[in-house]
Amino acid sequence: MATIVAAPASSRSVRERRWRILRRAARARLAPFGAAVMLLAVTVALLAPVVAPYNPLKQNLDRTLSRPDRVHLLGTDNVGRDVLSRVIFGTRVSLAAGFGSVVIAVLAGGLLGLLAGYAGGRVDGLVMRMMDAVLSFPPLVLALALGAVLGAGLTGVVIALAVVYTPTFARLMRGQVLTITAREYVDAARALGAPGWRIAWTHVLPNATAPIVVQASLSVAFAILAEASLSFLGLGIQPPAASWGSMINAGRGYLQQAPWIVFGPGAALFITVVGLNFVGDAVRDALDPRLRA
C-alpha cells in the first residue's frame, strides 16, 4: 500500500523539480533567443532537403559569384552554387559534429571517470594521468594531429574532437563520484549490502548528471567552433559536400569580389554558437546547486 501511495507522490515531485528547473532556465534573459536558434538549427538540419531552395551541389556556371537577390537570397559561389542551400546543408555537418563528439566524450569520459573514482588506487592514478596527458596537448593541435592520421572526413573529426573533450568529462565525473560516495546515503546503501554497480547506477550516476549536463551543453558550442576550424583547414568533410568551415575557406579567395560567400556561413556559425552559449548558460543557471533556492 505504502509503495502504491509513494510512487505517484515521488513521480509528481520529480515532475515538479523538472518543471522548476525548466522555469529557472527560461528565466535567463537570453535563453529564449538561444532556444529559438537551437530549435531553428535542428529543424533546418533535419529538413535540409525540403527547406533548401536548390541542390547544394548543383553548379550553374551562368550565375557565378552573383550578389544576393530574390533568386539566390545569399548569392552564389565561384561555381554558381546557391550559398543559402549550402549553408542549410552545412548545418547538418556542424550539428552532427558538435553533438556527436560531445555525446561520445560524455559517454567515454563519464565511464572513465566513474571507473577512476570508484576503483581508486592504481586504476585511478593511471586513468587520470592518461587524461592529464591528453590535456597536455593544445586542443586544436591534438585534434589536427588526430584528424591527420585518422583521415579527412566527418568521422575523423568527430573522433578527434571526442578525444579532446573526454578528459574534461572524466575529471568532472571522477570528482562527482568521490563527493557522492562519501555521502551518508551511499554508506547506508553499502551497509544494506547493495553491490557496487547498483550503488553506481542508482545513487552515483543520477546525482552526478547535473554538472555533466551543464558542461556538455557548453561544450557543444565549442565543438561546433572546433569542427568549423578543422574544416576551414581542410580536415573536415571534403568538397563538394558543404560545411560552414570549408565554405568560408573556399570563399576567402573571393573576399573582394564576393564577400557573401564568407559572410553567409560565417553568420550561420556565429549565430548558432551564440545561441548554444545562451542555452548552455541557462542550463548552468538552472542546474547549478549554488543558485538553487
Binding site: R129, M130, D132, A133, V134, S136, F137, P138, P139, L140, V141, L142, L144, A145, L146, G147, A148, V149, L150, G151, A221, L225, A228, S229, F232, L233, G234, L235, G245, I248, N249, R252, L255, Q256, P259, V262, G266, L269, F270, V273, V274, N277
Partner: protein, 314 residues
C-alpha cells in the same frame, strides 16, 4: 620555492612519459599502412621499403618505441621525410614569427581587456558595461578565422591600410615588420581579450563587494584609488589563471592565424606537415608544442605562488 619547483617538475614526469607514448602512437593510428598514407601509390616499392626501414616501422612495436625514446632522450626528434631536415631545425627556423605573434597578441589583449573589464565592473549595468559584455560574447563566439577574414576585408581589402599576408621580421625592419604582424596579432589578441574581459569583470565585481573595499571607501579614498590600489590587485589573480588556461587556445588560434595570414611560424608548419602527410615532422612538432605547453602551464602554476602567498604556503 625551490622545493615547489622540484615537486612540480617531478609530477610532470609521468605525464610527459604518457605524452611521448601518445605521440609515438600517432603514426600507428593511421588506418592501413602508414607508409602508404605518407607516399603516393606510384612511388616505387624499393623507396617505400627504404622509408619503412629508416623509420623503423619494420620492427616490433616495443623495439620501435625503445629506439624512438632513446633518440628523443638524445635530443633527436627525427627528420622530415619531405626536406630531410631534422625536426628541431625546422622548428628553430619557424619559432621567431610565432613568438613575436604570441607576444604582440598578448600585449594587445591586455591593452584592450584591462580598461574594458575594469570599467564594465565599476559601472555595472551601464551602457559601457553592456558594450563590455557584448564585446566579450562576440570574441568568445567568433572563430579566429572569421575575425581574421573580417579584418582582412576591412583593413586589407576595403581600406587597404595593412598587408593581408606575408611576414617581415620586425627585428630587421621595425615598421614593415609591425605592419605585417598587425592583423594576425589583432586577430589572436581580440579572441584572448574577450576571455580576459569576462574574467576581469567578474573578478572585479567580486573584489568590489568585499569588506576591505567598503573600508577603503569609508576612509575617503577616491573611486580610482580604491580600484587601482585595492580591487585590481586582488582581481588579477583569476586573470592569471585564465591566461594559463587560455595558453592552449592561444596556440590553437596561432595555428589558424598563421595559416590565414601565411605567416611562416610553427603553427603553419604543423598544418603544412599534416597536409604533406609528413608524419615524423607532425610527431616531432606536436611533441615540442605539448612539452612547451606543459612547461608554460608549470610556469603559470609557479606564478600563482609568487602572486598569491596563500598558495605558496599551502
Amino acid at each position: 620555492m625551490g622545493l615547489l619547483i622540484l615537486r612540480r617538475l617531478v609530477a610532470t614526469i609521468p605525464v610527459l612519459l604518457l605524452v611521448t607514448a601518445g605521440v609515438f602512437a600517432l603514426i600507428h593510428l593511421t588506418p592501413g599502412d602508414p607508409i602508404d598514407a605518407m607516399m603516393a601509390e606510384s612511388v616505387d616499392d624499393s623507396v617505400k621499403r627504404e622509408l619503412r626501414q629508416t623509420l623503423g616501422l619494420d620492427r616490433p612495436l616495443h623495439l620501435q618505441y625503445a629506439t624512438w625514446m632513446g633518440r628523443l632522450l638524445r635530443g633527436d626528434l627525427g627528420r622530415s621525410i619531405r626536406n630531410q631536415e631534422p625536426v628541431i631545425e625546422n622548428v628553430a627556423r619557424r619559432i621567431k614569427p610565432s613568438l613575436q605573434l604570441a607576444g604582440l597578441a598578448m600585449a594587445i589583449s591586455l591593452l584592450v581587456a584591462t580598461p574594458i573589464g575594469i570599467l564594465s565592473a565599476a559601472r555595472r549595468n551601464s551602457t559601457l558595461d553592456r558594450f563590455g559584455t557584448s564585446f566579450a560574447l562576440f570574441g568568445i563566439c567568433m572563430p579566429n578565422f572569421l575575425i581574421a577574414l573580417l579584418l582582412i576585408f576591412l583593413f586589407g581589402v576595403t581600406l587597404r591600410w595593412l598587408p593581408i599576408s606575408g611576414y617581415v621580421d620586425p627585428m630587421e625592419e621595425l615598421w614593415d615588420g609591425l605592419r605585417s604582424l598587425a592583423l594576425p596579432a589583432i586577430t589572436l589578441g581580440l579572441a584572448l581579450a574577450a576571455v580576459i574581459t569576462r574574467t576581469l569583470r567578474s573578478s572585479m565585481l567580486e573584489a568590489l563587494s568585499e569588506d576591505y573595499i567598503r573600508t577603503a571607501r569609508a576612509k575617503g579614498l577616491s573611486d580610482g584609488a580604491v580600484i587601482r590600489r585595492h580591487a585590481l590587485k586582488n582581481a588579477l589573480i583569476p586573470v592569471v589563471t585564465v591566461l594559463g588556461l587560455q595558453l592552449g587556445t592561444l596556440i590553437g588560434g596561432a595555428v589558424i592565424t598563421e595559416y590565414v595570414f601565411a605567416l611562416p611560424g610553427v603553427g603553419r608548419l604543423v598544418v603544412d606537415a599534416v597536409f604533406a602527410r609528413d608524419y615524423p615532422l607532425v610527431q616531432g612538432v606536436v611533441l615540442l608544442i605539448a612539452v612547451g605547453f606543459i612547461l608554460s602551464n608549470l610556469m603559470v602554476d609557479l606564478l600563482y605562488g609568487w602572486i598569491d602567498p596563500r598558495i605558496r604556503h599551502r
